[in-house]
């Protein structure tokens, strides 16, 4: 097996030195294979990194929820108060299909539509639309990631409302947020509001994870097909 590997390496090296047209096909195939393997490893790394960030964000959210429960009382923040009246979710997803040009394999792409009004029935408007576009551009290009970075420092514009356009939070969004909080009373602890924001960030992270998962499974299929083909 080692000899085979050695032969392959010499073959690649000789064609790199200008080994002729017939030998150019082989390194190209190897290059495409390597690209798929790299894509697979990259998407898996992204999946694990995002999972790590999600754990941190959720931990923060649970802590804030516990703080709110502490200040408001356990009877005012619990699952028994959840709204069981008929209503549609203000935050939803848009699922589209990303066609891949050079292969038959397709992958799902998820876009988050946050706080689309359930009254005017315009999902994907306002903030939701922006988040989707933002996610799309982010997932489009592979970037260097740092595991030690805090998920909150990664996208400061999402949490600090002073930095301009992405932070424009319109009245509609505020209204929907308050509506969601009103399940737990009219006057709620500020900690509950911060918990809400933390879980919103977690939701954004989850959509990124779902997209990374989708990319990883597609890359996995490609690599597996190539392995079976050889």
């Amino acid at each position: 097996m080692e000899e085979e590997e050695e032969d392959r390496r010499t073959q690649i090296q000789s064609s790199d030195d200008g080994g002729g047209d017939t030998q150019n096909v082989e390194p190209n195939r190897v290059k495409v294979k390597d690209q798929h393997v790299l894509q697979f490893l990259d998407s898996m790394d992204e999946y694990l990194t995002q999972m790590d960030s999600l754990s941190t964000i959720l931990r923060q959210g649970w802590l804030e929820l516990a703080s709110a429960r502490h200040s408001m009382g356990a009877s005012r923040v619990n699952g028994a108060l959840l709204d069981l009246k008929i209503h549609s979710a203000p935050t939803s997803l848009r699922v589209s299909e990303d066609a891949v040009v050079d292969s038959e394999v397709e992958k799902a792409h998820f876009t988050l539509c946050k706080w689309a009004s359930s009254e005017n029935g315009k999902p994907g408007s306002g903030e939701g639309k922006f988040r989707g576009d933002n996610l799309r551009t982010k997932s489009g290009s592979p970037q260097l990631r740092n595991r030690s970075l805090s998920p909150f420092s990664e996208n400061p514009e999402k949490t600090s409302p002073q930095n301009g356009a992405p932070l424009v939070v319109d009245d509609q969004v505020q209204k929907e947020r308050s509506k969601s909080l009103s399940v737990f009373g009219t006057l709620v602890s500020p900690k509950l509001r911060t918990a809400q924001l933390s879980f919103e960030t977690a939701l954004e992270k989850l959509v990124e994870i779902a997209n990374a998962r989708s990319t990883m499974l597609r890359a996995f299929d490609q690599v597996r097909e190539e392995l079976e083909g050889t």
Binding site: F40, V95, L181
Partner: protein
């Protein structure tokens, strides 16, 4: 496999949850809660009284509903119905195993990573070369 299946394009799909009370409450605050005309919710709160059968039924229901795009399931809950989670391989709804308060996320148990782990085993690489 996952990539081969037809992916239905949806303009508005839901996020379903099978998790502990705090996680579900948090995500409901973020606006993902939905109650349909039959008064069915898109979440299941799992506590010490919840039976495995109830979790299985909720999982089967959420995976067959057409308006659900992502199912969030606490990893410790997924471990209770591991055979079901591992055998599911459709791209939509996507199953995401998330950590819970008392049980941190363990990549070794994640069904999607178990599926792709095949590529890292020496046997699969060797059989690929033959």
């Amino acid at each position: 496999m996952a990539g081969r299946a037809q992916i239905p394009t949806k303009s508005s799909a839901l996020i379903a949850m099978i998790a502990d009370e705090d996680t579900v409450t948090g995500f409901l605050l973020a606006g993902v809660g939905n109650v349909d005309l039959r008064r069915k919710t898109n979440y299941l709160i799992v506590d010490s009284k919840t039976t495995v059968k109830a979790i299985e039924d909720a999982f089967k229901e959420f995976t067959t509903k057409e308006d659900i795009a992502i199912i969030l399931i606490s990893q410790y809950v997924a471990n209770m119905i591991r055979f079901l989670v591992d055998s599911y391989n459709k791209p939509v709804p996507a199953i995401l195993e998330i950590p819970s308060k008392d049980h941190p996320y363990d990549p070794a148990h994640d069904s999607v990573l178990s599926r792709v782990k095949y590529l890292f085993s020496a046997e699969s690489v060797a059989s690929g070369r033959r």
